[in-house]
Symmetry: C2
Subunit: 229 residues, 2 copies
Amino acid sequence: MTIDRTLHHFPLDPASRQARLALGEKRLPFVEVSTRYWERPKELTRLNPSGMVPVLVEKPADGPPLVLCELRAILDHLEEAYPDPPLLAPDPAERAEARRLLTWFERKFEFEASGYILHEKIEKRLLGLGSPDLANLRMGRDGLKNHLFMLDDLLQAREWLAGKRMSFADFAAAAHISVIDYFGDMPWREFPAVKTWYMKLKSRPAFRPLLSDRWPGLHPAGHYDDLDF
Amino acid sequence: MTIDRTLHHFPLDPASRQARLALGEKRLPFVEVSTRYWERPKELTRLNPSGMVPVLVEKPADGPPLVLCELRAILDHLEEAYPDPPLLAPDPAERAEARRLLTWFERKFEFEASGYILHEKIEKRLLGLGSPDLANLRMGRDGLKNHLFMLDDLLQAREWLAGKRMSFADFAAAAHISVIDYFGDMPWREFPAVKTWYMKLKSRPAFRPLLSDRWPGLHPAGHYDDLDF
């Protein structure tokens, strides 16, 4: 059965990036529609009442379209409808660990690290709110380091973040980190295990589209798309 | 196989309440450990590095315990390990709708409504931060009304929040609303469809333990445990 897939997303949004990585790893072709969601475009709010990205629309050749709003609905649907390759381990403990980390990135990491950095570096620019506040940036960078210590510890003991298998947890971490890296704010040298893990992810075909993302007026750091950084 | 289950939770935490409702509906016996998580008790942080509730521990008679940290890991595990009764519909569109709403409550509803109210009415009391700020409470109550208009619209068209079946989405909404109702802040009269739906949920056996929750120094509204309010 042919299904036309359209992903409504914003290239520098960590949640959108997780959806793109999952689609890419499962080798599901899709059309990308980049949306300025902060302007509340009608096409998007008609699909998703929250007005947020990502939204994935699957249109089968016959039958109604399936509209998947918000990252959680997208990831869970992809894993249920296209289980091969799996992006959650079969072992219940490793599945639980992946899901614990998904919550960690969505709440703790975003509140304590990436939220500060991305607000100052992206949102302020897009919304015309002036230049970054240095105290906020420092808060974000300090928070980031605390989280990177935790990740580095995990990755010294495990091949992938949740255990033996690459999972949604790796995509969550890599999506957040890749946007921070776009702005050159990743202290790579201090966290060698995180760096090795990120190099592995960065060289996967599913990651390539993220490395060619550019947004007008927001320039990536020189090493951003370098596989050997 | 006998499994000993222990849920570490806080009675007035909406996420903890969702875990209790799911366990109750699936008729899985468990021991409740009420925890003052804001004091960062060692027993809890050893189990969950984020220090948050809920955490569910399943101990089989033989073999290692399975530690499920954060609500998402708990709900997804319960649905996978104990599919009967299902708490997500089989239809992919209805599953996606339930997951969209889970994200809605976890982010939008919490940021715009319950977060304000519960910070002022619970956190400030527990942390000794003084009396509620009236401007913040008003913000929370205004946000709450906007969300209730949306829920009332949905519930005029559907039997349950995500469609034809009771699901995790109903538990998410009811868990948040029930804590707000504990403090007497639910404007029931203006939202008859929400009220009818809440009465249905309130009368389920799984809901009963929530209605007998009391926390020292925090008194529930008079109608809180009344099935016919």
